[in-house]
Symmetry: C2
Subunit: 120 residues, 2 copies
Amino acid sequence: MENKCKCDCYCLYKDIVDIAKNSIKKIKIFDNMYTFFKTFADVTRLKIICALDEVGSMCVCDIAVALDMTKSAISHQLKFLKENKLIKYQKKGKEIFYSLADNHVKDIFELGLNHLQEID
Amino acid sequence: MENKCKCDCYCLYKDIVDIAKNSIKKIKIFDNMYTFFKTFADVTRLKIICALDEVGSMCVCDIAVALDMTKSAISHQLKFLKENKLIKYQKKGKEIFYSLADNHVKDIFELGLNHLQEID
DNA sequence: TGCTCATATGAATATATTATCATACAACAT
DNA sequence: ATGTTGTATGATAATATATTCATATGAGCA
């Protein structure tokens, strides 16, 4: 039957399903989007963002101390954040200072904060 | 030494570290926050949100057809969304219709969309 | 040059997450 | 009652992720 898909389902409301399907198809950036949100879906990364948001820029070592974690763990997470263009950095001698890339990061962070404060 | 922590780090800029530490401590909802953002950090859940956003409300079966996935997989994800209060539902006979819980979900989704369209 | 410190990174381990599979339950039709 | 359909769920297997560990690189200094 036409309205039966490989997934063992009978389609009940075909027109609605078609609208939903088209809507999903239109957004070709789900992969990027999920990677973007994944950034905020980790306590360590949230804390790094929070710290950088508060003090502007910090070196790897200080972030590690502030979060009470190893420098290696922080470095791995900074790499993730860097690859997803959420932070930028500036070299000063041996040290490398990281800071938030733009206001979107702050916006998202604060929107999440507001949402949680409202339902709580 | 006072400025050496268990994590093999030497604290370089103590005042900055203290500010960051306090800022992190103030936010006691990192756990909730990361769970909230985790919702958006999965392609399946993003698609469900996208579909519900577009057509208002859908039953489990139709969501499964629209996403071309099994009903079981969808049901598990709906449970996750339900537990985190991002969707609500209404029973009609055998069917259960799911819809987005409030505008925050839509807001976050669209903010992510905007962010990605700008950097791209 | 050799040493120390700041940072980066590959591999391995530990943990978390997702989809599948089997099954259960509830509503409806016959 | 029995069978069918829509949904839910526990257990498992497959996959992804985070941290640790060992090691590497690179800058500054003695």
